[in-house]
Symmetry: C2
Subunit: 493 residues, 2 copies
Amino acid sequence: MFRGRLSHVILAAARYPHRQNELHTAQAAQKIVPLTDSLVQNLQKIVGDKNVSEAMAIREQHGKDESYHTCAPPQVVAFPESVEQVSGVAKLCNEHRVPLIPFGSGTGLEGGINAIRGGVCLDLMKMDKILAVHPEDFDCQVESGVTRKTLNNYLRDTGLWFPIDPGADASLCGMCSTSASGTNAVRYGTMRENVMNMEVVLADGRVIHTAGKDRRTKKTSAGYNLTNLFVGSEGTLGIITKATLRLHGIPEASVSAVCSFESIQEAVDTTVQVLQCGIPMARIEFLDEVSIDACNKYSKMNMKVAPSLFLEFSGSPKSLDDNAEIVGEIVKMNGGSDFKWATDVDERNLLWKTRHDILYACMALRPGCKPYSTDVCVPVSNLPRVVVESKKYIDEAGVVGPMVGHVGDGNFHVFFPVDQSNPDEVKTVHDVSVKMALLAQELNGTCTGEHGIGLGKRELLIREIGESGIEVMQQLKQTLDPNGILNPGKVFF
Amino acid sequence: MFRGRLSHVILAAARYPHRQNELHTAQAAQKIVPLTDSLVQNLQKIVGDKNVSEAMAIREQHGKDESYHTCAPPQVVAFPESVEQVSGVAKLCNEHRVPLIPFGSGTGLEGGINAIRGGVCLDLMKMDKILAVHPEDFDCQVESGVTRKTLNNYLRDTGLWFPIDPGADASLCGMCSTSASGTNAVRYGTMRENVMNMEVVLADGRVIHTAGKDRRTKKTSAGYNLTNLFVGSEGTLGIITKATLRLHGIPEASVSAVCSFESIQEAVDTTVQVLQCGIPMARIEFLDEVSIDACNKYSKMNMKVAPSLFLEFSGSPKSLDDNAEIVGEIVKMNGGSDFKWATDVDERNLLWKTRHDILYACMALRPGCKPYSTDVCVPVSNLPRVVVESKKYIDEAGVVGPMVGHVGDGNFHVFFPVDQSNPDEVKTVHDVSVKMALLAQELNGTCTGEHGIGLGKRELLIREIGESGIEVMQQLKQTLDPNGILNPGKVFF
């Protein structure tokens, strides 16, 4: 039933993927109609005069994330301060069929907040209260604008933390929205496993609590799992205004280490063997020699320029020693170097800050460029093949492509620095990215482990889920947002 | 928009909850129309003559689970052998607006498979192949009829297991359907965290793979999380024909122990303190003195008749000793007895078999009775209050109500043995059950941690999720099953 609607744009995008940005512009040009004065005035009535901006600088700042996608500014930006205001804006936009795009920290990597069809951007960062922390139950509740670092600072004295860590200091409800994960997912899972409940404003302004108001149980079988329907829906099904999150105890002891290898294959083989031995790693991150070089330059480090693993062990001091010993043996068997330990807090923080800054380090390799990121994820046994083949694709294309990844989950990225103004270069990088995604899909994998679909991976999603599955997703979208106002053009064409 | 449709039956049920069974009968009497000969013939064409039965004994066997709900037999039972056959039956039923009820092991506790509006029961147990095991990736794929014990027997030589364990030897796709969990959930999570992908037949016969065909990655951000929409949907959104599941390494060492307490409060306080210390328990189960007495009689044990905890520690031998020592101290601080250890495999198996047989042990307290089970779940800090108050409700009502539960998750059950033929008794037990659920809901909890809504908890669901949330769930149901053929009358009225 959705075949007709889909076909035209999909085919265009599939045939000319490198012309994606042009397509967006074309779509936008077709659909953007100027907002009426009365709509803007109503918006001001709902959120207050001071909380509405039509200034171009503000609009542009809200029209792009950290990716290479061309800036597509919204027509107006509103800064609501309460769920009632969010609900009011949704009702208004729904009535007038105006696109509504939720905006958090703007740190996404797939153009998820670009206003390709214009409309109202809802910057949710003023709703920044930590509403409750229940240390005895290992949970908390936050408003949409609280970032993960703010939450963890707030929790400092409780012995607890929220471990999901995508690198950037993202807003927690934004992380819900993209189903973020990062370096700690190998131990703690992703947002999917760590969100217990959410307050969500629907397209028509209705407010729901996905697990029922104030509920915060470790498990539930009460009706459909709305929580996990909205986690990862990228602002296309509803606007997340509050989240109830699981917290975890800070491990008794932690140590980190770096080791280097002769080849990528050896580093990845080591990862697979460590996982297959069932060693409970806190983190296990792979960086190829290009990434290490970028880190050395950007973070003033002095690491050996070779494929490397960044490892973290945590738990009781005894278990930590045992595990480090086993991993050390596996590293040695694969021809890896001795561990370079980072035992005290400052050294560990420096190491992981270096890892987290890697996107910026990679971009510094080619100043002025923006990141085009791949995000494939495969079963770990298929990881060596995908990593090694990807390296070949990059080398064959002759582009700069540092590789880095959460290999413990079978997930890794290439952060290509691309010159947005050079369509040939964008096409070359896009072709490598698509080849990697197709290979991952062929090997039981996904085109996106944690960044989401956004603008960049819509045609890959179709291939990945299959026509009937996509139809079901679109039926759900149509049901919850019949006028298509919520973040239009994302996830689907 | 759903208000009108809901109001009549909900109000009836809310006002006269003890008359639930009569209501079902009334609904059924209104709606069941005889199946035409041609429909049965078409069914035979699809699944084969030998795979269709209208015999009353077979129908009755498929018209009830293990709960107190009155048997409501389907009009015919079909035993498909492939997904194509399931799809064919769905198309047929959808075309003729005939109810279609998926059936697995029949071990549910909320009347989830009772054919209250007649129709075709689809017994999925002939589809019983273990399709793939990938030990190196810690995953496997099974057809709908494979039970958890069959899978674990098959995995015996791999060092891996599927730990989710609701007690009964349930079919794994049935466990997907109710979002089952059980004694191991405190360590490994529930079905929600352990299902990676499913093949699902929709009401109109379309076949989807919730994460895309053959995909089995540890994480994904590709589109909406259909997997977790269908997990826990109790056969009302689609029929699960295959599941891809996470496997886990069998722990290096495990020991189990029992300790007893003077009072329920002390046993539950111990649990809360153990969790708050962050001790990684493998299992922590509470049994009150009534349950212990039932176990002694049924399983020929000789345990002290007192509120008790069944504990399991697992991991490396060292960590196991450390953890057992800390827990031992907490038990002592709460006035508990010394641990009675079960270290060898036979002793451990006997202990956990005793725990798993508890439903039958409780029923043996009053032969001929059927179980009416409560299933509340609350944040652990609210657990002592709910357990202690529940005990008061039971005592005040003067009924037999053994308490047992997965207290590590804040979840516990009372397995009331009820005489189905005595409406006053059913009402008394129902009233206690509702009081417990309302108290749990007041204390940030849910009426069902793991059994699902089925027939028994529909009015409680409305109270728990709120009107807008229920509307969204019903919109999803309406979208995916517009003719309402899939397991009608379950989850919603």
